[in-house]
Symmetry: C2
Subunit: 195 residues, 2 copies
């Protein structure tokens, strides 16, 4: 479990085995069953999750009981509830879509690790900016892209999720109806595009 996080970090910054051990003493591993709700609106989550196996998602349920998926987090992704960093209650749910094993990361982990390993501050800065770039792109897609463009973007971002996730959840993430998604998939199949 910890090896996966160590590899993730070592791909991005210089971390020795000793340094990794020092900064990892407060991390715990936990396995959750499918459909386990870890954070609900109104709660303050004390942790971020680094997924080593399985799949989590972040979502809202609106006044019409429609589920709106903000993010999927498969293996080697992080997922966290950002309001909790400011000790404010969550706007969203986080749950497991599959049985999931995750590292439970104390919420100021990267900030604290930066005290031990200065280049962790750079990593945090890059990860936060990448989240912003990623979300700007998503907002742009939601404002402008066709259902087909959104779906093609989704399979580029999450190449192994199309068979793991129910179609209605993908439609929810894309902001289209399940019927539109079904049409898009049929059209792409006709064009011999592997979906």
């Amino acid at each position: 479990m910890f090896e996966q996080l160590k590899e993730y970090l070592q791909k991005r910054i210089a971390v020795t085995d000793e340094q990794f051990e020092m900064i990892s003493k407060d991390i715990k591993v936990k396995t959750f069953e499918k459909n386990k709700v870890l954070v609900a609106p109104g709660e303050i989550s004390p942790k971020a999750y680094f997924i080593t196996e399985g799949l989590m998602r972040c979502y809202s349920i609106d006044s019409k009981a429609k589920v709106n998926i903000i993010q999927f987090a498969p293996e080697n992704w992080w997922i966290s509830e950002r309001n909790s960093l400011f000790n404010e209650p969550s706007d969203f749910y986080i749950d497991t879509v599959e049985p999931t094993t995750a590292l439970l990361i104390p919420k100021n982990y990267i900030q604290d690790a930066a005290q031990t390993i200065p280049c962790f501050a750079d990593l945090n800065y890059k990860m936060l900016n990448n989240s912003i770039r990623f979300m700007q792109k998503r907002i742009n897609m939601l404002l402008s892209a066709t259902a087909e463009e959104r779906y093609l973007d989704f399979i580029k971002l999450y190449p192994n999720l199309t068979l793991r996730v129910p179609q209605w959840m993908i439609a929810s993430y894309l902001g289209i109806t399940p019927e539109s998604l079904s049409r898009v998939r049929k059209d792409l199949a006709h064009k011999h595009f592997k979906v």
Copy 2:
């Protein structure tokens, strides 16, 4: 001009006049006419902008020549092209909607300032996380909210923009048609809601 930035910072972190002078020596002031394009897709922007007067926006133009507005930046807002932080070409345009005076902030300003004033790192961390929270909320609104809910959220976020910005631009930001926006405004007026 510089006073406005100093006040902005002093509201958020402890900065003395001397410290502010030290970290501000590379900042320039510039006034731009209306409709001036400052960054276009494919370009690398060397700067962020802190608006002291006027209004900028960040947007894309899609394959159907439709304009999609990602962000407005009126007085006391920051606007920047995030790809440039990684020396990658911009995905978006940034231009002025009104004649605008802005401080031209070197792109690593807050990181560099953190060398002089350690609490700048906290400010940067908070600002980046707030951007992420803000965009998660916007994605959620685009996935789930009605045209009226989106408009009410817009006037809460940008209280003084509804009269300054052409209606089609507000519709573009909200991801609705100008006709829908016109209907929403009429409905709200009937309910005696000040729009």
